[in-house]
């Protein structure tokens, strides 16, 4: 069983009346709410936490891509991954986005990910999200009617740019390049493992199953609501006659570990409320541009709504409700271990993105919760899925080939 530490990097200073005074945390969120001097501090706090998680033995540390968004301060996840690649050893760099449909030409993605794979010594996981409608259609202006077609073409181009050793022309519908020839090339052959972060798009199941990619279901609605979608993926794999492997599936979960349940509720839960109530406050007109979801996915979603498993949301719910309904895995190390085991076995996932930083949680609290998870929860879950081969983790260079930073010091003056 593998665990990755993941931080959305929210802006933690949204005002108390944010929901009342602003219609959306995303796309048209008021930029005057952002203070870059505070921003300077929090970038460093967030990167410190990611590096700390690597030291504690998490398998991977994750970053992702959002635009015009007060809960995700990583419009360029490759920049974050670059600093982490240089400051960490051994840990996987889980780059769960670049939103490949947004790069023109997408050889930029092939180049930057190849750079990261080379800098990190082959520790990169290459995430290829479509991206949310807010990010892609509204903030970046990508046409929703052609977004998925563009995604597909860009995917094909990036893969060929990584694997074809010869210079080739690319005469696509969205990209015309006379000379494709990226430098550098990735260390991992034929290319870094590809993970597809998806919401509930059913086409993504087929894409991951057929291509052998990891299906990463990212939701803030918790694991109990995710079972139907996760099973949908496992079912597709089985229908295609492919073997089940838990490591082909991953899930993101918000987690709080404290000394006592009372501490989890009193000290930590307010930060989850900040996340649910301010960070997920999205104007519905930006949530789903016409054409962003295919007709098949819309119809599947409607069926799910009729069946009563729609995401709902955690706004206004108590700590107890959030835990009972799976929005949060929270409590003492024993309680969290039990809930995590239930999550892992019910969703049949071999990778979990542990969202241990939530909302406006300060670094000290997050550090404590992260340490408790690493020391008192993780070791008790490691045995799960023994016997399955994880073919979706990076294959780094052997230790003797791995370079390290070698600072050049000024000679000491006599």
């Amino acid at each position: 069983m593998k665990f990755h530490w993941f931080n959305l990097m929210p802006y933690p200073y949204l005002p108390d009346d944010f929901r009342q005074k602003h219609r959306s945390v995303w796309v048209d969120v008021d930029s005057r709410l952002y203070d870059p001097i505070k921003g300077h501090r929090i970038y460093h706090d967030y990167l410190d936490l990611l590096e700390f998680a690597a030291e504690l033995g998490f398998d991977g540390i994750g970053v992702n891509e959002h635009h015009a968004n007060a809960y995700g301060l990583m419009p360029s996840p490759a920049l974050m991954a670059a600093t982490l690649a240089r400051r960490t050893r051994n840990v996987s760099i889980v780059l769960l986005g670049m939103s490949i449909a947004l790069y023109n030409p997408p050889t930029r993605v092939a180049e930057e990910m190849a750079m990261l794979d080379v800098i990190s010594g082959g520790r990169l996981i290459a995430g290829f999200p479509v991206g949310t409608s807010m990010d892609t259609n509204y903030a970046f202006g990508a046409n929703p009617a052609t977004l998925r077609e563009r995604y597909q073409e860009n995917h094909d181009l990036i893969l060929r740019a990584w694997t074809d050793p010869d210079v080739f022309p690319w005469n696509g519908k969205f990209n015309k390049l006379r000379y494709v020839n990226i430098w550098p090339r990735p260390i991992q052959k034929p290319h870094p493992p590809i993970w597809i972060p998806g919401g509930g798009s059913i086409e993504t199941w087929d894409f991951c199953a057929e291509r052998g990619y990891n299906y990463s279901y990212l939701s803030f609605s918790g694991f109990k609501r995710a079972a139907q979608l996760m099973n949908g993926f496992h079912d597709r794999v089985a229908e295609l006659g492919l073997p089940f492997n838990p490591y082909q599936a991953s899930f993101a979960q918000q987690i709080i570990v404290a000394e006592s349940e009372a501490e989890a509720e009193e000290s930590y839960f307010p930060h989850a409320k900040y996340f649910f109530e301010r960070c997920l406050h999205i104007y519905p007109g930006f949530a789903d541009a016409p054409g962003y979801r295919t007709e098949a996915t819309i119809r599947a979603g409607l069926k799910a709504q009729v069946a009563g498993v729609s995401s709902g949301g955690a706004v206004g719910k108590s700590f107890r409700q959030c835990v009972d309904e799976g929005f949060l895995v929270a409590g003492t190390p024993d309680q969290v271990t039990e809930q995590m085991e239930h999550l892992i076995t019910s969703l049949r996932v071999g990778h979990v993105f542990c969202l241990l930083h939530i909302g406006d949680m300060p670094r000290e609290k997050c550090e404590k919760s992260t340490r408790l998870f690493a020391e008192k929860v993780m070791p008790r879950l490691r045995h799960l899925w023994q016997g399955y081969e994880d073919r979706w983790s990076p294959k780094p260079l052997p230790a003797h080939l791995m370079a390290e930073p070698r600072p050049i010091r000024q000679p000491v003056q006599a």
Partner: protein, 260 residues
Amino acid sequence: MEQLTITLRPGSAPVHFFRGGAGEPVLYLHHLAGLQGWEPAIAELATKFEVFAPYHPGWGPSQGLDEVDSGLDLVLHYVDFLDALGLDRVHVVGHSIGAWIAAELAAIRPDRVNRLALFTPIGIWDDAIRGEDPFAQNPLRATEVLFADPARRENLILRDGTVDPLENYVQEMKDLKAAAKFLWPIPDTGVIKRLPRITAPTILVGASADRVVPPAYIPIWKAHIPGSEAKTVLDAGHLVNLEQPSRFATIAGSWFLRPN
């Protein structure tokens, strides 16, 4: 009235269209959210003209959005449509995105267009006017913004509960997706530079409460189409055909009957 299909080229998706009435032929090009069947405004026009009202490729039952990528493709699609029906020269009433297509057709093939009526035309952008984004609405009420009185959607689109709201939602998303293909993210189609080529006598019709194409756009269109005239319909939003069907049919009909 009859509902028909016609295949324009081997292998291309059939065009679904309505045909009805008798008289000089009129091509009716619908708005961005599609056709509500044989609408009252079309039926009224058909008391004086033979009206052809196709679904654009990708809207309603017409497939084939993949076959059209640009305004030029849409113009060629309608040239093929007129050829297939043996229509040499037609009056054209274009509405919303249909007005853009009609204007392109008249600019590129002036020989095929007799007289032209453009209602709440989309396709020109001015930062100082803007208007509401038709593609950034609450998806379950996506077309409310197209009405002067949003409550009228209940009657005119959902037919007071006789249309299944979930099916309607799927259809609206499909129609708006097709519109988005040509109008996303800013509806500047470049038509403004081709408007001076239009030789057909043209009337431009704005709607006083159009929140998507505010009436302030009408003078811009008028200034670029030589000799054109302009009118405004009161108490109507972008879907002036649904909110004021009789005014819509009367304005288009009397424009087409006016001697050249």
